[in-house]
Symmetry: C2
Subunit: 144 residues, 2 copies
């Protein structure tokens, strides 16, 4: 018998599962933030991914959002109609349009960032030392 382990369940996947629960439990908060800023979730994500001062081609945003270019057209249409971003022709390639976050967009984006940075209650139950330990571990995992 090849005695397949019942489930590898490495510590890494266990940690991932716990983080997934944290996110699932925080989804309500995310929707509330979107509603407060009058953004749909995809619009909020797009605005968060666009960096003010860094013109970004539509196709690059599509890549970051893991969706088709044609979706970005509509999402950006609505952000542009609200004056949060604007389309600007790129100088080096006339097929490309750069997305630029407007001042109004940067304002909404910052509020979005502030609200979304609010950690779930679960994390606040950890002591300050434990929180720092968590930061150190996650920082190491994400280090390039």
């Amino acid at each position: 018998m090849s005695a397949t382990a019942p489930a590898p369940t490495s510590a890494a996947s266990e940690a991932w599962l716990l983080m997934s629960r944290l996110f699932q439990g925080n989804r309500g908060q995310f929707f509330a933030v979107c509603q407060e800023l009058k953004l749909s979730p995809p619009q909020a994500m797009a605005l968060r991914l666009l960096e003010p001062g860094t013109p970004t081609p539509m196709s690059e945003l599509a890549g970051l959002m893991h969706c088709d270019n044609s979706n970005v057209t509509g999402i950006v249409d609505r952000l542009e109609a609200r004056g949060l971003v604007l389309r600007r022709p790129a100088s080096h390639d006339r097929r490309v349009k750069h997305l630029v976050v407007t001042d109004a967009g940067a304002d909404v984006r910052e509020r979005l960032g502030t609200l979304m940075a609010q950690p779930p209650a679960a994390l606040l139950r950890l002591s300050a030392a434990e929180q720092r330990q968590l930061v150190a571990l996650l920082g190491k995992a994400l280090a390039e």
Copy 2:
């Protein structure tokens, strides 16, 4: 002056930010899993939230998904059309319909769980000891 701190930026919110990056970076993987199982993201979420052997009222699923009851009707319609769940009248209240995961649904749900449990590469860069440390911290945060 009430000297509002420029930004609390507790270690907790920094940890939360890092976890958010981990999730953002893993979205592509999630979409790939959905596509492989031929489930839309909401369908996948619904199937994951329904526990086989635990009949669940539609409205409870709506609550877990943070959406309106009327959305669940359509999502469940499609899951039911594929034979992954079924509706069953609840005995104690004839207004309520219980959702039951079928055997086929339990199978897909388990594959979904297995694929989604796959931790992102970043977590695998941590040593086994560090991974266990992470589990301990997250476990403490999520402890009831």
